[in-house]
């Protein structure tokens, strides 16, 4: 027979023995989805892509908050008596089968009228009738077919988001005007003094003038605004010479046609704006499916179950939680506030917060922090603090989160623009003074010509095209940068700070070592059999490690929450768990997680769990150590210190027991002494450090699922390529510098024409696009060569 995979989701189905319709399934959930699809003629789902599905999860009661009208109203995009429209984010959307099934939702329920998928954003927009149907029913339907939507506190403000399409409008208008003006100005390029041209040229010129109006006053307005802002804060950014060039072009051209002395430069003017906007558009590559602005709101639930004083369950908004409320946290639900455990077995997964994947067991009376996920049945808790005041969420009130990193950074283009603008202005003034004495009638002509031809179109295009293309290349290699300036800042860093857990350690893997008396084979069998019954993650990892043995039927088995497990078989008893639980007074306190074992009340030994570091970690550090200061800031205890010192280069600084605020302060401190910091982290506890650093990169095992606010997201599988990414960013800077040299050559040629007072519109019309296009070609070819080396 061999290994079988689930027909629905592609997981291993060898041992499940669930066969339906001659197809094997890994679990009943997958089988049910298949049954739903085949009963509704949607079997095509499996033709488009092999094993495209996901196992539906148990969602009992999870979406009860959708009964709350206030919450629902916030989620709906459109709502009248009969129809409602809602857009839901579904992380599982990943292939064409997903699009197909979600756009055929109307076959699954008659009340759904239509649904449209946006693949890039992983959203589905559903239109449905409200008779016998509701958003809750829709969410349940989606979950039952394995497409569980993700509804978070972030969605709370939905409907207020307006899509900004202004750039595409501006680009369209500039292109439209550019093309038409080109056509209209063509006759005058070559035929001078012909009879029919003389007759109609005024019409042509005024038409060009009309077309140029929206270009100057709408398309180019961002440049004027930015130049004004720059001048106000005494900065000569690149937009200053651009705005100056556009203004001079427009004024001189208008003056020329009003006074009937020439055709003006409307063609160059519209071409310039069009190319500049094209560069902006190219640079604006965004990864729709990734969000770089996430804070706790993206992960926190929108509604929660409150137990009223009468003992009734009621769904309330998370923001309405008050101190002293009693809440019910169901299995797999996130704890939204700091609270005290009252009832139930808490087994909290803090991986959102710390990146640490092991769960923590708590007993009633223990304090639970916001951000943990309950994994073991329902619990009841008493609220200690409201959402905004909780330990984790307080981090976001720090000023770093309101700071725009780009503001404080002088990019290469703006750095060069300062010198450039001053040089051009002095050339223009000297040339004008010269012509005042030689031929005063030409003075104004020369002054404007210099400003026109020196308009730094090519310089302004070099960076957007280089970084834009680099961004795409990085994206293909699973390194997703938020914007172009991230690449520029990455090239400038000199200090790299790593978080430990989840960043340099592989999340789900641990290595386990046994210390103590050797276990006899009967003891091993007993150990294995006892572990089999426990769902504790440590038990699971240990169980997976031990060799297969016959499984015994235990006479007695008991799990002591937060302590360990005990079991008996025939006359043998075993205790597995914490040191005090197994009756071992630990003389040597180790900081690592350990599971102790005793049989028949005699202590045997312990299994110690060590972090497993990512493969190639020390190789990467050895490459990086030559150029950068390396630091590890860990929120954990110092248990791994010895291990890390062995693994990493000697000069790597190691810090343990760092709170989120400590990490942030550490980076701030080093930045004040001139360090450019690259922070690499993963959990929400690194969010402050990621925001404070010059470049914050989040490592993610699955880029679609989780990452805190950051500048770039790096797929964990590409962790070892980090050095190459930084190197490539540096090379990108070199490319831009060479493009500047190239555009200076063009400027020198143009300035020759301008200074000698012979700048004809046709020269400007040739030189301007030529320089722009050659820069674009140069940067694109160069970045592609670098990109090829990266692979």
């Amino acid at each position: 027979m061999g290994a079988k995979t689930c027909f629905h989701c592609g997981l291993d189905a060898t041992s499940s023995e669930i066969v339906y319709d001659n197809k094997s399934f890994c679990c009943n959930g997958c089988k049910t989805v298949y049954e739903i699809f085949s009963a509704n003629d949607l079997g095509c789902y499996y033709d488009l892509q092999q094993a495209p599905g996901a196992t539906p999860k148990e969602i009992e009661g999870k979406y009860n908050f959708l009964d709350n009208k206030k919450i629902v109203e916030r989620l709906l995009e459109f709502n009248d008596e009969n129809t409602q429209i809602v857009t839901l984010y579904i992380p599982h959307i990943h292939c064409s089968s997903c699009i197909w099934i979600l756009e055929n939702l109307n076959k699954l329920h008659p009340s759904i009228s239509s649904s449209i998928v946006n693949f890039g954003k992983k959203t589905v927009r559903v239109n449905y009738y409200t008779n016998n149907f509701s958003i809750k029913a829709l969410v349940k339907l989606l979950s039952s077919i394995g497409y569980e939507p993700f509804i978070s506190l972030d969605d709370y403000s939905v409907g207020k988001k307006n899509v900004d399409r202004s750039l595409i409008y501006k680009l369209g208008i500039a292109g439209f005007a550019f093309g038409n003006i080109m056509f209209l100005s063509f006759p005058e390029y070559f035929q001078v003094g012909e009879y029919w041209l003389e007759q109609f040229k005024h019409t042509f010129r005024w038409l060009m003038f009309t077309f140029s109006l929206p270009v100057v006053f709408y398309c180019a307005q961002d440049y004027f605004i930015s130049a004004y802002k720059g001048l106000k804060s005494k900065l000569l950014n690149i937009d200053v010479p651009i705005a100056l060039g556009v203004t001079v072009l427009f004024l001189r051209s208008t003056a020329e046609i009003v006074l009937d002395i020439g055709t003006g430069f409307f063609d160059s003017l519209s071409g310039l704006v069009f190319f500049l906007l094209l560069g902006k558009f190219f640079q604006q590559k965004t990864y729709n499916f990734l969000s770089f602005e996430r804070d706790y709101k993206s992960y926190f639930p929108i509604g929660i179950t409150k137990i009223t004083s009468e003992g009734k369950e009621e769904s309330i908004q998370v923001y309405d939680i008050e101190k002293g409320d009693r809440l019910l946290i169901r299995n797999e639900e996130l704890i939204p506030v700091d609270c005290i455990l009252i009832h139930g077995n808490a087994s909290i997964d803090y991986s959102f917060v710390t990146g640490e994947s092991n769960t923590v067991s708590k007993t009633s009376g223990d304090k639970l922090f916001a951000g943990g996920k309950q994994l073991n049945g329902s619990i009841e808790v008493d609220v200690l603090k409201t959402v905004e005041q909780s330990y984790l969420t307080q981090l976001w009130s720090n000023d770093v989160f309101n700071k725009n990193k780009e503001d404080g950074f002088t990019n290469l283009t703006n750095a060069i623009s300062k010198k450039f603008t001053i040089t051009i202005l002095s050339i223009a003034i000297f040339a004008t003074i010269f012509w005042m004495f030689v031929d005063a009638s030409k003075a104004l002509n020369v002054f404007t010509a210099v400003l026109i031809i020196a308009c730094p179109c090519a310089i302004a295009l070099a960076a957007p095209f280089t970084f834009g293309n680099m961004l795409r290349i990085f994206g293909k290699l699973k390194f997703y940068a938020k914007n172009a300036s991230v690449i520029e800042q990455l090239a400038a860093i000199n200090t790299i700070i790593f978080d430990k857990t989840g960043t340099i350690t592989a999340n789900k893997e641990t290595s386990i070592a046994y210390e103590g008396m050797a276990l006899s084979s009967t003891e091993e069998v007993l150990l294995k059999s006892s572990l089999r019954n426990s769902n504790h993650p440590l038990s699971r990892s240990l169980y997976a490690l031990l060799q297969d043995n016959d499984i015994l039927t235990l006479n007695d088995y008991e799990e002591h929450i937060g302590k360990g497990i005990s079991a008996t078989h025939n006359n043998n008893s075993i205790k597995i768990g914490s040191a005090p639980f197994v009756g071992h007074s630990s003389e040597s306190t180790t900081l690592n997680t350990a599971v102790h074992v005793s049989t028949n009340n005699t202590y045997k030994g312990k299994f110690t769990f060590y972090n497993k570091y990512r493969k190639g970690l020390s190789k990467l550090f050895n490459k990086l150590k030559k150029e950068y200061d390396l630091v590890i800031l860990s929120g954990d205890n110092a248990g791994e210190k010895e291990n890390l010192t062995k693994l990493l280069p000697a000069k790597t600084k190691l810090f343990f027991n760092q709170k989120p605020e400590d990490k942030l302060e550490y980076i701030k401190h080093h930045q004040s002494s001139g360090a450019k910091v690259l922070m690499i982290g993963d959990g929400l506890n690194d969010a402050g450090a990621l925001a404070q650093s010059d470049v914050g990169i989040a490592i993610s095992e699955d880029v679609n699922v989780f990452s805190p606010a950051c500048d770039a997201i790096l797929d964990a599988s590409k962790f070892n390529s980090l050095y190459h990414f930084i190197k490539a960013s540096k090379q990108a800077i070199t490319i831009i510098k060479w493009s500047f040299v190239l555009s200076f050559v063009y400027n020198a040629i143009g300035l020759y024409f301008a200074v000698t007072g012979q700048l004809a519109p046709v020269v400007a019309a040739i030189l301007m696009p030529l320089s722009s296009i050659s820069i674009v070609v140069f940067t694109t070819v160069c970045t592609n060569i670098i990109g090829r080396k990266l692979k």
Binding site: D41, L42, G43, C44, D47, L48, S96, I99, W100, E103, N104, I116, V117, N118, F119, G120, K121, V163, R165, I168, Y169, G172, I173, F176, G179, N180, F183, W196, Q199, F200, T203, L207
Partner: protein, 61 residues
Amino acid sequence: MSVIYILLAVSIVVAIAFFVAFVVAVKKGQFDDSYTPSVRMLFEDELIKDKTNKTILTKKD
């Protein structure tokens, strides 16, 4: 009146017509998602194929 005015008028009207079409397209959100439609258009056939498949199956039964 010279024919050139008519030609100019026609050319500008045509250009503006296309421009208006562009603005309408952007406004309708046609430029918001450039990937999904490329996949969606391949599905029209799938639905028909599905139905024919089914008739074959029912005949066999």
